[in-house]
Amino acid sequence: MNAIILSAIWGIVMMFSAVFIKSKTAPKYIALAGIVLVFAANAAELYKGWLLFNFDVHGMLVAGSFNLTFIAVALGCTTMYFLLSGRDFEKTGPHVAEYFALIFFVLCGVAMCATFNTLLMLFLGIEIMSIPLYILTGSDKRNLKSNEAALKYFLMGSFSTGIMLMGIAFIYGGSPNASFYIDNIQLGVGKMPVMIAVGLVMLMVSMSFKVSAAPFHFWTPDVYDGAPTVFTSFMSTIVKVAGFFAFIRLFENSFGTIHAQWQNLVIFITLATLLIGNITAVFQQSVKRMLAYSSIAQAGFMLLALFALNVHAKEGLVLYSAAYSLATIGIFAILVKMNDYTIDGFNGLGKQQPLLAITATIFLLSLTGIPLTAGFQSKFYMLMAAVENGHSFWIVIVAVLFAAISAYYYFRIIQAMYFKEPADDIAHVWDITVAFKVLLVITAALIIILGIYPELILGWLYH
């Protein structure tokens, strides 16, 4: 609640700052102040239940400690993101403040996706998340790739919106007591009516599209590749995990009772996602595109939570969000500084920039899921949830086999950094400040800490 309103407000503040402040660097600090403020407000709500504004939302938004913790994670990651990549906004174009404003609006949508309790709010939240992203994707105007990405994203995005709305309509039509409240559809436990089934499939399709799960992932590589790298970093992490949270929340609260009836869909989607994400990533030459595919692969792992749909799954999802976002943000922050986005561009980075190389290695190990990193803990929770589910254990085996494959492409970068010689001794990276290095180290440290002591986050879930 606090987060939604404050971030919306701060978005407006950023807009006006764009009008009144001409300085290039000022917006970053305003934005930082804002994100900290939002974080604090959210923390206050989480910790003491303080509400800054007293709206009567008629239960359209329900914020338990679980949702608030997730919002906190998202906001925390955004803070790290601002700190690490804030300076690189300028590379995209002159409208720095506007970019920040849009990101705040996205955050507003994220918060709505985390707390929605009616399909209307879900719809609004997702739209509020998406529309600014269409713009951000296209924000690098002179770059044709950026334009193309924007149009593709927009067309397919609105297409999926259409599907989603049709789904909502059928849910409404099928629900015995004509309600958009996700916990009030009243399905009982028997075989679900056909209208509900149709709506469910359509909702699943559109949500899968948002979290870039196969076979609805096609926009992902192109958009992530075409969008300005700073924004790719944002939308491939926070937005995506928000989508996941919404996905789980929706399906748990509305269709949780009849889980068994739609599990096969999830299995199909999960397998397809794991397969396409992991296999296709192997051959990529551009790190940016490879990370796009890897994000699909990670989505495949997160889908295990939807497959399991139990306590561990939800805990794991929150943890996964943190681990995955931090690591990916870190990698992208380094990638933005690189001159050459291909894997060969990383050759010999270990010599030139040992610190960057080490932190990058930690991020990659976390993405691979090596113990002592947050990535391991999150994968571990996912697997645990999936095993606990008890239904079709084999999917877990398949998942870990794909995880092994994922090592293949993550380690290509590590190998390049440490074991390959640079083609020529041109500098790989530019404007590396001490502050940047410190922040990278902090991010890495966070990942390690979460890897050793995940309760740092999980402790809040049941506060």
């Binding site: 149009l151 593709k152 067309l155 397919m156 297409f159 599907i163 056909v194 089934a197 149709v198 469910l200 499939v201 359509m202 699943m204 399709v205 599209f209 196969a214 076979p215 609805f216 096609f218 926009w219 590589p221 192109d222 739609w262 096969n264 869909l265 199909f268 989607i269 396409i276 296999i279 296709t280 990533a281 192997v282 051959f283 494959i405 293949y408």
Partner: protein, 634 residues
Amino acid sequence: MNNVLQIAWLIPILPLIGFMINGAGRNVLSKGISGFIGSAVVFASFLLSVYVFIQVKNGNTHVAHYFNFISVDFLKIAFDFKIDQLSSLFLLIITGVGFLIHVYSTSYMHEEPAKDFAKYFAYLNLFVFSMLILVMGANYVIMFIGWEGVGLCSYLLIGYWFKNNDYTNAANKAFIMNRIGDLGFLLAVFWLIAKAGTVSFDEVFSAATLAKLSTTDITGITLLLFVGATGKSAQIPLYTWLPDAMAGPTPVSALIHAATMVTAGIYMIARSNILYTMAPLTQGVVAIVGLTTAVLAATIALKQNDIKKVLAYSTVSQLGYMFLGLGVGAYTGAVFHVMTHAFFKALLFLGAGSVIHAMGGEQDMRNMGGLKRYMGTTHLTFLLGCLAIAGMPPFSGFFSKDEILAAAYANNPVLWGIGVITAMMTAFYMFRLYAMTFVGKFRGTHEQEHHLHESPAAITIPLIILALLAVIGGWVGIPEVFMHGGHRLEAFLEPVFEQSNAITVKHELSHATEYMLMGISVAGALIALLYAWNKFSKYEKTEVPSAGFSKLVENKWYVDEIYNAIIVQPLRSLSVFFNNVVEKKGIDGLVNGTGKAVNYGSRQLRWLQSGQVGAYVLLMVIGILVLFIIQLFL
């Protein structure tokens, strides 16, 4: 534990110390010192052995316990030495003959550089040590320690001149063939452990344990042990290493490959005689294998021209004899023959060594002849040796061989018949050797002729002593028919074999038969001897390509070639197959194939991402279609 024999540990330790000194100080010690140390330690342990022997003679046998080697669960293997009649006898032979050969070596190896000289003595001492462990061990495991130890030493000594690849090949062959035997030995031990739960002789041979073992067990165990014996004592099918082992220095051949190591098999079987007596099947096998080996080796020896090769094959054949003895239950006879054989065969080898020494390394008898004019002592002692091995009364060989033959006859006349023929062959090739070497006129080159001389005292004295023993050595076992109570050895060894004797039915031969047997064998031997003598005393070098049977024999029945064809080559090609096909193409191919498959799949899946919005949406629609079908119609 206050038994005086507790000091038995000194006997093996002394040579070990010698080995350490010589081994460690081989760069500093002069030849004189290392030679002296090498011999002195063995002499010391010889004296101790004599003391021990006297103790035992006075009826004091003892199992000296030192420490627990291995103790797991039910399995307790103690580091014990068993001092009884059998082992003490062997102690005497080993240390005694060993000492003489050490002395001999000091002179024989004198051309070697000092450090190799020391190395040589170190190895020799190590061998004596292992051999002593072998005979003193109070259980099969300790015995096995010595068993492999001697194998190792023979490997090292055969490969003593390691620069020559043929020699090192011979060494490898010896070791590996021994390993094959050892596997048999080990399996027997494991069988014992599994069934009897113990390996110590006293416990295994105790009536209680024997009761636990079924006939199959005993037969199996004894057969496996016998496999071990065939390896160590060069019996069919594992005998081919011994002739090649002649690559080593001659004294080594004398000590290891004639007098001591190769008799380990006999010792072991004599040690476990009760088991064998309880397994008639095995006994049969032992007898037949022994006899076959004897005949085969003898035939090969007929045509050999290398002086050492002849002796080597004769050794194999004699060992066959001993196994025949064991097979027919004449344990005493076998041990007796071991002893006498140790004397005369060592003598012969050393003599041959002296000859080779004189000939400047020449080993081909066709280039010798008439040496008796140049080297009297050697010739005389050698002659005595030949007579002894040919079984001429009253030389030692006669008694031991006769005892075995008698036992064989008692068991089955056919065995006896073949035995006699073998004996005749023995006499023949020995005197062929003798005649070609010492009689006739010299066939070597002139510088060799100039070089010819009698060997120094360090060589001749051992020869003389051994000759003496070869002559009188047999008198400890004069058969009943000549002198009542003449067989002192049998009386002495009685306690060792009493269990067996208790259960074997002794069919006494009438005196007449015995005389008849002796007569025939001696006569046969004599005929062969004389025939060989006058055939080869006037031998001339003639290059007649031999054919038919003789060719077969000359090429040692092609046994090496056969083994090579049916074992070595297949193994090699199998390995190559494994390495090149199964490993590289098969398993590793599979592993790498997975990686390749992933790469390929990756390259193909990328085309799905065509970049066309239309195509994307189309695929999405198809995806939706699939989901609907799954949900609504499956």
